[in-house]
């Protein structure tokens, strides 16, 4: 007996030694979930618009791209020993909800709940470099944003994304019933069938099908009262800690509550300790391909193949057809990904409105940055915290201002940041400021909010400038300098970008129109009824207009040095009512908003007249190779542009401007989304009173847009004494409308 006991002890000791040397290579499932979660989140647009990170989730930081860092984190969270803390039984108090297991060589018999693990760095390690909790992500994020060197910035931001990946790993594990029903599942002895099934379909079209639509949690769960053991609201993504009579199949429950209450694991099929699911939840059995299945027809989520009949009246999950795990996967995977995406979005939710003050000093360099700042985060209040301004050129750090105390609220307040130690030249290319606030936000006591702001640094009159912020969500604002002249205001207000995807089959494009229709409830309208009469086809596309290019209107300050944007849409287009053709616009110009090609002056041989612009966009004689990418590249290149970022950001988006007093709101609407909606509501008068024949100043503005969605659009208002595009044209008539 002693020999046996000794052998067991020796074996255990050896195993401990061996396993402690293993660095876990996470089940590839986590990498797949995380990649999809990042893609489903708003992170890409956020990085572009608020942090001026042009590559978005594909930006390269410290050896990996952003999404790869998140994947890395979700993989490394299973590193040696950490996995013991990835269990959470929502039916228990949180300090007892972790894995409870028989003595074994790997995990303690009692382990920390994943809910606590994710926000208790002290439980993870005393060494900060081995901590990957929410607070560590926050710290690394703020450190990265405010780093004074590029190297540190890249390293900290990379580590931020990795840490976030480690946190979302916990959400993903909570989607596995074995993890929420205290069912340890060691390989060989007792592997978890569901995890095995998911691994078996990874990379297949089946997996892509099952995860093509994700399920997000109802964000209201984040506002539920806190549990002092894990007070940061992300706990609710796993467990809302709310009493529930029966399990919910809705999105108002945490991931663990859902998987625990609605589904079972291999070893917890109708076992004691779990009231639900129960035998009474089952419907009548049915046979399919030699297997007797039972559906779940009550008590929350309904499942077609819930359990199968085993011998001696028992049940099993691992049926020979794999239909049970397929059904489980169909329920759980969309949530695992959607809830992970929600956590990422929650991390980056804090937004600041930043307005450059009008009294900016106009010396050779910027030494003081006066701004107005306010919290514009949805439904969450901020308070006393620290704020810092960081100057970037593109994504490269130029200077960091000293931190300031601020009591931040909804009302804009003035604050000036000091850059006197490292003055910033006016002519810095792609000058961009990030304001980073650290302090309370909603229920999170130590949060981070940011606001990005580009800085106009060209020859345009800075006092007559406006900036459009265009994140991925259909909502943003145009900020207008209070001192902007009425003319400038009109020009800016008349700029609209309509962006659609392009029809890849149709290789050639013509321009199209959008008009604001006061007879149709003040909506922008689109039509294609008489397009053939109003717009000349391209030479290679004379038979149809399935593919069109619509381009944003800009004026040309200097015909030889203009910048601009193409706006492209697919398969449909906007039309001018009663239009007579290019250059012969019979439209009622007082309510017409035209979308034009931006043409380099040098490539516009017809001069500056509108008629010439209409017919000499470069498109009428240009043919493009099929394929979106080629078209896009060639299109931009033909006008001297460089394609930057992802042209698909242009797809399926419509930008509209809303004018209210001194502000304009730009909405971006998914025009090819549900209902294929191409009608954009405008709630105030965009333009009015203008008449054909008006002789207002022409477009002397330019647009400098690399990535209109997800990155700032700089709208340049007319400079004083700038050029004109031809004041007698219809184009200019419209521009001259008074507000």
């Amino acid at each position: 007996m002693n020999k046996i006991f000794s052998a067991v002890l020796l074996g255990s000791a050896l195993s401990i030694f061996q396993i402690s040397h293993i660095y876990s290579f996470d089940v590839p499932s986590h990498r797949a979930f995380s990649e999809k979660a990042v893609r489903s989140s708003n992170l890409d647009g956020f990085l572009r618009s608020e942090l001026n990170i042009a590559g978005g989730i594909d930006q390269f930081f410290d050896g990996r791209r952003v999404f790869e860092w998140v994947q890395e984190g979700s993989e490394r969270e299973d590193d040696s020993g950490r996995f013991c803390n990835h269990f959470h039984n929502p039916l228990l108090d949180w300090n007892q909800a972790g894995l409870q297991i028989a003595p074994n060589p790997v995990c303690p018999t009692t382990n920390t709940s994943s809910v606590l693990w994710g926000q208790r760095p002290d439980l993870q390690s005393s060494n900060e470099s081995e901590q990957f909790a929410w607070q560590n992500a926050r710290q690394r994020y703020f450190d990265g944003l405010t780093a004074s060197t590029q190297t540190v910035r890249d390293q900290k931001l990379g580590l931020t994304f990795r840490t976030l990946g480690q946190v979302i790993h916990l959400v993903q594990d909570a989607a596995v019933p074995a993890h929420t029903r205290n069912d340890a599942h060691p390989t060989f002895i007792d592997p978890d069938g569901l995890e095995g099934y998911v691994e078996s379909i990874l990379g297949t079209s089946i997996f892509n099908q099952l995860t093509s639509v994700i399920t997000r949690y109802n964000s209201s769960i984040l506002a539920l009262s806190s549990n002092s053991l894990a007070p940061i609201p992300i706990a609710k993504i796993i467990d809302t800690d709310q009493p529930s009579a029966i399990p919910s199949a809705g999105t108002d429950v945490g991931m663990a509550e859902y998987s625990d209450g609605n589904l079972v694991s291999d070893d917890t099929i109708f076992t004691s300790g779990f009231v639900y699911p129960r035998v009474a939840s089952l419907g009548p059995s049915f046979k399919f391909k030699g297997v007797t299945y039972f559906p779940k027809v009550a008590d929350g989520e309904l499942v077609d193949h819930f359990v199968a009949q085993a011998k001696k009246g028992a049940y099993l999950l691992n049926d020979s057809n794999s239909l049970i795990f397929q059904d489980y996967s169909a329920k759980l995977l969309p949530r695992a990904i959607g809830y992970s995406a929600g956590l990422i979005d929650y991390f980056f939710r804090g937004r600041l409105k930043v307005v450059l003050s009008s009294n900016q000093p106009m010396g050779n360099s910027i030494t003081q940055l006066p701004v107005k700042v306010a919290n514009i985060t949805d439904s969450e209040e901020s308070g006393m915290g620290q704020i810092t301004a960081v100057a970037l050129s593109g994504n490269s750090v130029l200077a960091v201002s000293p931190q300031k105390e601020i009591s931040l609220g909804r009302v804009e307040q003035a604050i000036t940041f000091d850059f006197s130690l490292t003055p910033i030249p006016w002519d810095t290319p792609n000058l961009f400021f990030i304001l980073a606030y650290r302090g309370p936000l909603g229920l999170e006591q130590d949060s981070v909010m940011v606001g990005g702001r580009s800085f106009i640094n060209d020859s345009f009159d800075r006092n007559n400038s406006a900036i459009v912020r265009a994140p991925t969500k259909p909502w943003t604002e145009v900020e207008i300098n209070p001192t902007m002249t009425p003319t400038a205001f009109r020009v800016v207000s008349n700029i609209l970008a309509a962006v659609y995807s392009i029809n890849e089959i149709e290789a050639n494009r013509v321009h199209g129109y959008m008009y604001w229709d006061p007879t149709n409830n003040d909506k922008f309208s689109a039509d294609q009824g008489s397009e053939a009469l109003s717009i000349q086809p391209t030479t290679a596309n004379a038979s149809g207009f399935a593919g069109l290019a619509v381009r944003i209107p800009v004026g040309i300050n200097n015909p030889d040095s203009f910048t601009g944007i193409c706006v492209i849409y697919e398969g449909d287009y906007f039309l001018v009512p009663n239009a007579g053709g290019p250059g012969l616009h019979g439209e009622r110009t007082d309510h017409f908003l035209r979308i034009y090609a931006v043409v380099n002056g040098a490539l516009r041989p017809g001069g500056n007249s509108v008629t010439a612009l209409d017919t000499q966009t470069g498109f009428l004689t240009r043919s493009f190779a099929p394929g979106w990418n080629n078209l896009y590249e060639e299109f931009l290149g033909s006008f001297g542009f460089q394609a930057v970022g992802d042209p698909n950001k242009f797809k399926n988006k419509v930008h509209t401007l809303q004018v209210v007093g001194d502000s304009i709101t730009l909405r971006i609407i998914d025009a090819l989304g549900a209902g294929n909606d191409k009608v954009i509501t405008v709630t105030s008068s965009l333009v009015s009173g203008g008449q054909p024949g008006d002789t207002a100043p022409g477009f002397v503005s330019g647009i400098n847009v690399d990535d209109p969605i997800g990155q700032e659009i700089d709208l340049y208002a007319p400079g004083i004494g700038g050029g004109s595009q031809g004041g007698s044209s219809n184009w200019d008539n419209w521009v001259g409308n008074s507000l």
Binding site: L14, F25, A32, T187, Q326, A643
Partner: protein
């Protein structure tokens, strides 16, 4: 009682040793990569097989074991020799390999097992698997991608495994190279080369100067 039994099962299990070769003889793998639409062979597609070893724990521990790579020939055929190796952990077994198959412009196979999903599942979901067996050969159909968005998204699916970081970064991040969680660069040079070409062609910032992978 169940708790007691499990405890003894754990202890007994860990006290036993396995003959890893029993589990490690996996392969060889023969296959053919074709265009999903034209059914024509796809030449010079990178085919990477990654073997992982799986050790027992309350949650399975999976580590990198080895990887082999090749390119498809003129007929789209490839052969990956069988893996014969011993797990570094005597308690672990070597899993069936996961395959990543990539040719720029085509939808990648990202880290999947090279066997078809059960037919019952395909029928139930009404989704056809792009890997199937035909006359004893595994056929992999790759769909041609047409838009930049598709190609960009496709590139992200190539990250189904972790490619090792440069040593200096790995050391700083407390993940020394040599520890088996990532795939060493020299094990997938062709895939890296093709990925870099594709990344460049869709306008992504290059991550490194190109270096050639050899068949």
């Amino acid at each position: 009682m169940r708790y007691f039994i499990k405890s003894w099962v754990y202890l007994l299990f860990f006290s036993l040793s396995f003959d890893p070769l029993v589990y490690a003889q996996l392969g060889p793998y023969h296959g053919r990569v074709i265009d999903a639409e034209t059914k024509q062979p796809i030449i010079d597609a990178a085919v990477l097989a990654i073997w992982q070893q799986r050790a027992p724990a309350p949650h399975p521990i999976i580590t990198y074991h080895d990887a082999l790579e090749t390119l498809t020939d003129l007929n789209g055929n490839f052969t990956i020799p069988g893996m014969v190796g011993v797990p570094t952990d005597p308690n672990a077994v070597i899993d069936e390999p996961r395959f990543t198959i990539f040719k720029p412009g085509y939808e990648a196979v990202g880290g999947r097992r090279l066997k078809p999903v059960p037919l019952a599942v395909q029928e139930d979901l009404k989704v056809k698997d792009n890997v199937y067996e035909q006359n004893g050969i595994i056929v992999v159909e790759l769909k041609r991608l047409t838009t930049r968005e598709e190609r960009l998204s496709n590139l992200r699916t190539l990250s189904s495994f972790s490619s090792c970081l440069p040593a200096e970064i790995a050391a700083r991040l407390n993940s020394p190279t040599g520890l088996p969680y990532c795939i060493p660069e020299e094990k997938h040079l062709n895939l890296i080369r093709l990925r870099d070409i594709e990344e460049e062609s869709v306008g992504l910032t290059p991550r490194r100067p190109r270096n050639g992978g050899q068949k």
